[in-house]
């Protein structure tokens, strides 16, 4: 099953924790239930970003490595 994303944000090159912060700001601008696709650098971002988003109640639907980057699909919380 493929999930359609409603919006995308490429956070490669954005350092921690600004990457998590930008993802949160973007998610808060979406309607509840909409899906945001994030691209992240490998390493700390791939850990801190999904953990922070989950703590704020957003649902991480997919967290997948593609060579040197990570793709996340996140459903905005209601």
């Amino acid at each position: 099953m493929t999930i359609e994303s409603d919006d995308r944000l490429d956070l490669r090159g954005v350092r921690c924790p600004a990457n998590a912060a930008r993802a949160l700001v973007r998610l808060e601008s979406l309607e509840a239930g909409q899906v945001l696709e994030l691209t992240l650098d490998d390493g700390e971002p791939a850990v801190l970003v999904p953990e922070s988003l989950r703590l704020e109640g957003h649902e991480v639907l997919l967290h997948e490595r593609h060579e040197d980057r990570w793709i996340l699909l996140v459903r905005a919380r209601g």
Binding site: C16, P17, A18, A21, L48
Partner: protein, 372 residues
Amino acid sequence: MATTVYLDHASTTPVDAAVIEEMRAALALVGNPSSTHVDGVWAARALELARARVAALLAADPDEVVFTSGGTEANNLALIGACSRGGAPSHLITSAVEHPSVLTACDWLESLGMRVTRLPVDREGFVDPDAVRRALGPDTRLVSIGQANHEVGTIQPVDEIARVCREAGVPFHTDACQSFGRFPVPAGALATVNAHKIYGPKGVGALRVPPGARLAPLLFGGGQERGLRAGTPNLPGIVGFGRAAERIAEEDVNRIRRLRDLLVARVLGGVSGSWLNGSRERRLPGNASLGFEGVSAWDLVRELDRAGIRVSRGSACSSGSTAPSPVLIALGLPAERALGVIRVSLGHGTTQEEIDRAAGAIETAVRKLRQA
């Protein structure tokens, strides 16, 4: 009369209640927005939300927003930053009516060997875009012309000046402190903005740095703000700036302009030997720069203050000095006339009743001072 009438919004605006509320919440955030733990994320979220809001008002990408301690620092960063990237001393173009934070930075750069062209203005305070074109040279590093004048309210043809600069491949900077949120900042320009002119807190501003602009920082340290402004940012101030940027769209500029026009008409009609400085058409909606023959602006400001009416003499930054305003001199006013000019500036809380009271107080005060 117990209540006072605040008509000095060009110096600074009262802080909006919603701004104070959001700043209070930001003060309670424990994390440093650079820390890579969850408290850092919460602090960084507040910072990035503010960045997104300020960027939206600038029609810029959030990455282009560099937060500073205010308009003064942003102007210094643009000018000194553009001229201190090494290489041979070069050339800078500005105007004779800029804010002191631009003009004194230019004086400093000149003392370091930079060549500075200070373009004249016409009687209404306008810079001629063709004069900018003629002043450009092969070594021009930057052109800096403010979008709206802080004293006389004249709105410069910045889109045209930006185009002249773009065609010549020279970066253009505009000090947009007075016009931010009221007039769009020219696309692609470096732009200085601050919070305390849009009902936000004092001590916070930003420089919009478009992609490709090459600047050296003024402050070195931990690499915050893309390396252009080191130091832990003033988070509560920045949060307040973000909220203010979001709310400024609600300012009813047409109502402010109408009240301003009413004030100007009453003063010019009721006080002989009075005049309006700047342009009638292309001026900031809240600005009235009014002159009175045979009256010292210093005395007039004092007299109005006693009557509970707060206005400025010239610009707030030079209010302490007794010299005539360089801006008014650049407009061609003789010194004795320039010494009789006050700046009355309205904001979104200004009422018709306040304008009636201010107009009456100005008439009374001028009459009294002329008799003394």
